[in-house]
C-alpha cells in the first residue's frame, strides 16, 4: 500500500474569466519508506496549488475542489476540517514552504515557533522543551542558541533549516517541500540539499519534492512527475523520465539545461506557458510542441503507459481513438 495516493485531484480557482485550472485531475502516489517523489514544472504549472490542495489550505476563491487523497489507506480530503487539522496537518503531512524567508512570525522566538504545535497539543512538558528543540535543531545543523533567536536575527539559509526542523517536530510520515531552496544562493542550496538527503537516507522520511530545478530533483528523487498547465505530463522513475523522456515537453525541458562540457548551447522551450484560465484546445502543450500533428490541436491526450510505471501525455505514445 502506498503512503500517499492522489486520485484525480482538482483545484480550480474562480475568476472573472471562468475557472482557472490550477490543478486539473492530477493522480500520483508516494510509495513511502523514504521514497522521494519529485514534482517538476514551470512557473504557473500548478505546483504550489497542488501543495495547497493537499494541505487543504486553498485561497478563498475556489471554483472546484475535488478528488481523493488517500493517506495510509484513509481518505483525507473529505473528512471534517477539524479532524484534518488535528490528525493530518503536521502530524502526518508537514510542509516546508518556498518563502521560508518570511515564513516565521517576526515577534516570536524560533524555539517557540518550532515547538508551537507540540505545545498547543500539550504533547510536551515545559521542562522537556529545550531538549526536544535542541535535538530538532541538531538534525538540521543548527546550533543550540537558535532556540532563543528571533527570525530577523537568522540568515536565509538558517531560516530554511529552522523551517525543516519545525516540519519535523511531530515526526510526520510525509514531508512536502515546496521549492525549499529557490530563494537561496547556490552554496546554501547545496547545504539544504544535504540536510534533505540525510533525512531521506538516515531517517527514511518520505518526501514530495516540488521544484522547477530538474538538477535538484534528479539529485534527490526516486520518481518524478512533470507538470504542465495543471496536468501531469509525464510520470515515472527518475531514470525513466530523465534518461528516456517520452514526452516532447520533458525533452524540451531537459535540453534547456546548460551543459558544462560539449558544444551544444542550451535549447529553450519556445513560447510561454499557457493561460490556465483559457488553456489551448486539444493538447495543452501543442502551441509550443515541435512534434505536434493534426490530432494534437483537437483532442487532449490521456496518459499513455510507455513502459512499466512510466506514463506520458502525448499522442505520439498511444493510439488516438478511431473517432476523434
Amino acid at each position: 500500500m502506498a503512503l500517499l495516493e492522489v486520485r484525480e485531484l482538482v483545484l480550480h480557482y474562480a475568476s472573472e474569466r471562468g475557472p482557472v485550472k490550477a490543478v486539473d485531475s492530477v493522480s500520483f502516489e508516494v510509495r513511502g519508506e523514504g521514497e522521494a517523489l519529485g514534482i517538476i514544472g514551470e512557473t504557473g504549472s500548478g505546483k504550489s496549488s497542488l501543495v495547497r490542495a493537499l494541505m487543504r489550505i486553498p485561497p478563498g476563491n475556489i471554483d472546484t475542489y475535488s478528488g481523493e487523497v488517500i493517506l495510509k489507506g484513509k481518505e483525507i480530503i473529505h473528512i471534517p476540517e477539524e479532524e484534518f487539522r488535528r490528525e493530518i496537518r503536521w502530524k502526518q503531512i508537514a510542509v516546508v514552504f518556498q518563502g521560508a524567508m518570511n515564513g516565521f512570525n517576526p515577534v516570536i522566538r524560533m524555539g517557540d515557533q518550532i515547538l508551537e504545535r507540540m505545545v498547543e497539543e500539550r504533547a510536551i512538558i515545559p521542562e522537556k522543551r529545550r531538549e526536544v528543540a535542541v535535538e530538532l535543531l541538531k538534525k538540521v545543523g543548527l546550533s543550540e542558541d537558535t532556540f532563543f533567536r528571533y527570525p530577523h536575527e537568522l540568515s536565509g539559509g538558517m531560516k530554511q533549516r529552522a523551517a525543516i526542523a519545525m516540519a519535523l517536530s511531530l515526526n510526520p510520515s510525509l514531508l512536502i517541500l515546496d521549492e525549499p531552496t529557490s530563494a537561496l544562493d547556490v552554496s546554501i542550496q547545496a547545504q539544504i540539499m544535504n540536510v534533505l538527503k540525510q533525512l531521506k537516507w538516515d531517517m527514511g522520511l518520505s518526501m514530495l519534492f516540488i521544484t522547477h530545478d530538474i538538477a535538484l530533483a534528479s539529485d534527490l528523487c526516486d520518481r518524478i512527475v512533470v507538470m504542465y498547465s495543471g496536468q501531469l505530463r509525464e510520470y515515472g522513475s527518475a531514470e525513466q523520465v530523465l534518461l528516456d523522456p517520452q514526452d516532447p515537453y520533458t525533452r524540451e525541458l531537459l535540453s534547456s539545461i546548460p551543459r558544462l562540457h560539449g558544444k551544444a548551447s542550451p535549447h529553450f522551450v519556445t513560447g510561454a506557458p499557457p493561460d490556465p484560465a483559457e488553456p489551448p484546445q486539444g493538447c495543452r502543450f501543442h502551441p509550443r510542441c515541435p512534434e505536434k500533428y493534426e490530432i494534437c490541436t483537437r483532442k487532449d491526450p490521456p496518459l499513455f503507459a510507455t513502459d512499466d510505471g512510466h506514463y506520458a501525455r502525448c499522442w505520439l505514445k498511444g493510439k488516438p481513438p478511431e473517432k476523434g
Binding site: I88, F97, P106, V107, E116, R117
Partner: protein, 350 residues
C-alpha cells in the same frame, strides 16, 4: 544597554519638542502684540477699580491722575510691560519648565485661587474622564470591527464601514457635537445640552456620578464618532496585511487552531501599528477635546483653553495649558516608544 540609549535619545528629542512648542507659543503671543494688549487690558481693569477707591481719599483730580499714573507704571513694570515681549516672555517659559506655572491675571479656580496650577489641576479630571472613556470605547469597538472586517474583506459590511470611516475622518468634531445636541437634546429631549451636572446636582456620591455620566454621554459619543472611523480602517488594513503574510499560511498548515492563528500570528504581529494609531489618535483627540468641551460646556482643560484664548484672555494660563497639553502628548509618545520595544523584538536591537 543600547536599549536604554535608544529610549534616552527619544526622551531628549521629546524634550526638544516641548521646548519648540513653548517657543512657538511665546512667539505667537508676543510677536503679534497679543500679549501686550492682553496685559494692557488687565492693567486698565485693575486701574479702574483703583480709581474708584482712590477717589475716596484723593480729592484733587490732578493728583488722582498722578497717583494712578504712578500705579500704572508700577503695574506695567511688575507685569514686565516696560520691556519688549522677547525680553519678558522667556522668563515665563523658563519658569513653566521648572513646573512653576505662575499666577493667572484674570481667571480663577472655583475656590477663587489665582494660582494657575490650582486652576488647571481642578480641570484635569474632567478632561481625562472624556478622553480616556472615548479612547477605551474607540479601541474596543475599533479592534472588534476592524478584525471582523479583515476576515471578510470586500463584504457589504466592509464597504459600508469603509465609507463611514471616510466620512468620520472628514467630520469636524465640534460640528458633530452641535448636530448631536440638536438631535438628542432638542428634538428627542433625552440628553442634556451641556454642562457636567444637573442643576441642582443630585445628592449622594453615586447619584452624582451617574448624573456626571449622563452628561458625559454626548461629548464622549462625539469624540468616539470622530476618531472611530480612521481607527477602524487602520486596524482593518493592518490586520488584513498581516493575515496575508506567509507565516500565517504556515501557521495554518501547522494545524494550529484558528484561535491561535488569529490571536498569536495575526493580531499579535499587527499590535505595534494598532497601538501606534491608537496613541497618536489620542494625541489628535486632545485638540478635538478643546472644541468638544466648549460645545458641551464641559469644565475641563479644553474649555479652560478656550476661555483663556477667547473669553477672558490670560496668557499665563495659555502658556501653562500649552505646556501641559504638549507634556501629555510627549508622555503618550514615550509610552509608545516603550511599548514598541516590548511588542516588537526587531526594534530592540537597533
Amino acid at each position: 544597554m543600547s536599549l536604554l540609549r535608544t529610549l534616552l535619545v527619544r526622551g531628549l528629542t521629546m524634550l526638544g519638542v516641548l521646548l519648540a512648542v513653548q517657543i512657538l507659543v511665546v512667539v505667537c503671543l508676543g510677536a503679534t502684540g497679543y500679549s501686550d494688549r492682553m496685559l494692557q487690558a488687565v492693567i486698565s481693569e485693575q486701574l479702574r477699580g483703583m480709581r474708584s477707591s482712590l477717589a475716596q481719599t484723593i480729592r484733587d483730580p490732578a493728583r488722582l491722575e498722578e497717583a494712578l499714573e504712578a500705579h500704572r507704571e508700577e503695574l506695567e513694570s511688575s507685569y514686565g510691560l516696560d520691556r519688549p515681549w522677547f525680553a519678558r516672555m522667556p522668563g515665563m517659559v523658563a519658569r513653566v519648565f521648572k513646573l512653576d506655572l505662575g499666577e493667572a491675571h484674570t481667571l480663577r479656580s472655583s475656590d477663587g485661587s489665582n494660582r494657575v496650577a490650582d486652576i488647571v489641576l481642578e480641570r484635569i479630571p474632567a478632561t481625562m474622564l472624556l478622553l480616556t472613556s472615548a479612547m477605551v470605547i474607540t479601541a474596543g469597538i475599533g479592534i472588534l470591527i476592524g478584525v471582523k472586517l479583515a476576515t471578510h474583506p470586500g463584504s457589504p459590511l466592509d464597504r459600508v464601514v469603509s465609507g463611514f470611516s471616510a466620512v468620520s475622518f472628514a467630520l469636524p468634531t465640534w460640528w458633530v457635537g452641535i448636530l448631536l445636541i440638536l438631535i438628542f437634546s432638542f428634538r428627542l429631549g433625552i440628553l442634556p445640552t451641556g454642562g457636567m451636572y444637573s442643576v441642582p446636582p443630585p445628592d449622594g456620591g453615586f447619584a452624582r456620578f451617574m448624573d456626571l455620566l449622563y452628561h458625559a454621554l454626548l461629548p464622549i459619543f462625539t469624540l468616539v464618532l470622530a476618531s472611530l472611523g480612521p481607527y477602524v480602517y487602520v486596524i482593518r488594513t493592518m490586520t488584513l496585511n498581516i493575515a496575508q503574510a506567509e507565516h500565517v499560511t504556515i501557521a495554518r498548515a501547522k494545524g494550529l487552531s484558528e484561535r491561535t492563528v488569529s490571536g498569536r500570528h495575526i493580531l499579535r504581529v499587527a499590535a505595534p501599528p494598532i497601538v501606534t494609531s491608537l496613541i497618536l489618535g489620542l494625541a489628535g483627540t486632545l485638540g478635538g477635546s478643546i472644541l468638544v468641551e466648549t460645545v458641551f460646556n464641559w469644565r475641563g482643560m479644553g474649555r479652560l483653553y478656550y476661555e483663556a484664548i477667547a473669553g477672558t484672555p490670560d496668557e499665563m494660563v495659555i502658556v501653562a495649558l500649552t505646556f501641559i497639553y504638549t507634556l501629555i502628548y510627549i508622555l503618550a509618545r514615550m509610552v509608545l516608544e516603550v511599548l514598541y520595544v516590548i511588542l516588537d523584538p526587531r526594534v530592540r536591537y537597533g
